[in-house]
Amino acid sequence: MDNRKIIFIGCQKAGNLYDLINKKLVDENLRQKVHLRKFYTFGLYTYKNIIKVWPDNIIITNITEDEIDTFIEEVIKNGKITKLKDKIYKKETHPLIKNTKVEFYHKQFRVVLRNSGVINPEDINEYIKRNGYKALAKILKEYTPDQVIEELKKSGLRGRGGGGFPTWMKWNCTKNVESDIKYVICNADEGDPGAYMDRSILEGDPHSVLEGMIIAGYTIGAKQGFIYVRAEYPLAIERLEKAIKQAREYGLLGENILGTDFSFDIELRLGAGAFVCGEETALIASIEGKRGMPRPRPPYPSIKGLWDKPTLINNVETFANVPVILYKGGDWYSQIGYENSKGTKVFALTGKIKNSGLVEVPMGLTLREIIFDVGGGLTGNRKFKAVQTGGPSGGVIPEEYLDTPIAYETLQNLGSIMGSGGMIVMDNEDCMIDVAKFYLQFAVDESCGKCSPCRIGGTQMLSILNKISIGHGEMEDIDKLISIGKAMQKASLCGLGQTAPNPVLSTLKYFRDEYEEHIKDKRCRAGKCRELVKYAIDPTKCIGCTLCAIRCPVNAISGERKKPHVIDQSICIKCGECYNVCKFGAVIKE
């Protein structure tokens, strides 16, 4: 047994730190004693320069170049950490493990990310060592396609790409269509602008996705698979290419897989930065080399997909779940989760949260547990205002619903969606109109323009929001937003247009008073909408340092040295400079 330590080095520019440590180890003749590995995704993005030591399972964060000597001394030579103690990230006991009452979850909590950060993603042997490709071997030997589908049905797995469609049904449909040629597509176009779950899976455990796709190929009777991956993810592409090559060398892809008469291969196709291409029919058009425009469904891709052939499309995370389900059984999987939402879900927890990063939690955990236990609460212990899930297709959820268990239906009932897993925490400094504007602007930018409800409705709604945010809104604008939004939901051709109004409608539902305040009182309580903010100087705090007066670009501030200053509102252009420069907190936003 190789019992050398594995040192994972992860940081934004992994190169530097890696090279330095490598050199040092070579100099000290220690290089043979450890494995050294670059790493990128840790789910601990709040920290820079992270080093993880395996099997000790210690994570050291924010290590500087000067500390490399100490690191080698303490971690590699002595195995006793003293000086670097403060930099140890609490051992990998996720807060969740302490907090859930259900013993079961403790151990089975990482399903999709089971290998990420543990194995070297560029070495197929490490995947195999952790039971990789065993499910495939078992299936090819013992299972008929119908048995695979039966197992998936028992598991209760649903699509992780946003829609939550039962996976077994999709597979069954595609299997039942008669055709000599069929395709399997993995949707790795991850379009939510605040999320990177799929990328982490592809970078951290590419073989799990390949294995899921090969099993799908066997089940539905396809010989060719495609992974449609964003060109913006170069490392994921590189890792996938390596993984495919190695799988071919091992006879896991190509002709006669594992000596059976089943043949299957996978190729990559790159996206080119269009959000709408995440929609399945647009994605198919894009793989065909065309402009990525959606087309009406039915016919669904399972009947008529890529080059008009029956096509199975699933999301990255969906595929990554498949090998585990088939290895451990559908019954095992269905024990994890909540009502009709089984298994775990990976979320990209960001925004005003202490521990920002990827978390994988069992369905049914409450939002509060995710945000306050796993995520550690808000930065600066500020007050929670809302959490946004589902990205541009989702909505905000206010504090009173924080005890809602996470599941497809529960989130939908709140006017949001599970989506692909973006979860953005907001505090009192975030303006709900501004947030709605951000998402709607995104949808308008990304609308393909094919159908008018989305193209025109989106632009209309956006111009109303803009009007409200500069203080020109009228009360009837609120009704207009709702009626246009509802029309878009009903009449748009694809999911983009159908869900684009969600961020607006959900903020309206829960924060209508904030909209009214913008309209009636011309006030933005979060101080975000620039035109509505009024800057003033608190005379009790101002010590008359004159800094703000010097920095004000339009000379709106007057006052004598060492005496409280005042802002002339008729001159002020609301640039915020005085607010930012005052060291005494004397400039206030009203």
């Binding site: 993005y45 920290y47 196709r269 080119a272 990209a348 947030v435 951000f438």
Partner: protein, 179 residues
């Protein structure tokens, strides 16, 4: 947030005829790539990616050559190029500045960084400075939201930024670029 609107080449018709008459040689790497992909259906986007990898953008001459090689109308090729945000019709600067406009960065002031960069560089999104040193673009979530707001200059990531820090960062590249 404004998206870069790729404007079609503003070359005069005369020039186009000139290009037509002139056969430009393609680098071997690209020729091999096209040969490999030529008969695969749906190859256009993959070939355009390769072109952009080599030139940094999609030069009109090359698009014309590809139209010929693949036997696809130039209009269709331009239709595809302009649909996808990633394909560029103009040569980018030596240092590509990408401002993250993902949700986390937006909430933490990504827009302020963008405005400040526009001021400092005197260009808008999609523009390139006259000296060819910097070009400016927006991107969505570069996957380090914990460091928001984030910008990238070529492949270097700068996190936890405030607009006050920008002049110094730009200065470093400017110096490097002028050396």
């Amino acid at each position: 947030m404004t998206h870069e609107k790729p404007h079609l080449d503003n070359v005069a018709d005369k020039e186009i005829t000139f290009y037509k008459a002139q056969e430009i040689p393609l680098p071997k790497e690209l020729e091999d790539f096209i040969a490999e992909w030529k008969n695969k259906p749906g190859n256009l986007i993959m070939i355009l990616h390769k072109v952009q990898e080599i030139y940094g953008y999609i030069p009109r001459k090359v698009a014309m050559k590809i139209s010929k090689l693949l036997n696809e109308p130039l209009a269709k090729i331009y239709g595809v190029i302009t649909f996808y945000h990633l394909f560029k019709l103009n040569k980018p600067g030596r240092y590509k500045i990408s401002v993250c406009m993902g949700t986390a960065c937006y909430l933490k002031g990504g827009n302020d960084l963008l405005m400040e960069l526009e001021n400092l560089l005197g260009i808008g999104v999609g523009g390139t400075t006259e000296d060819g040193l910097f070009s400016l673009q927006t991107v969505r979530c570069v996957g380090c939201c914990g460091l928001a707001p984030v910008i990238m200059i070529n492949n270097d990531v700068y996190g936890n930024l405030t607009k006050e820090k920008l002049p110094e960062i730009l200065g470093k590249y400017k110096q490097e670029g002028e050396e």
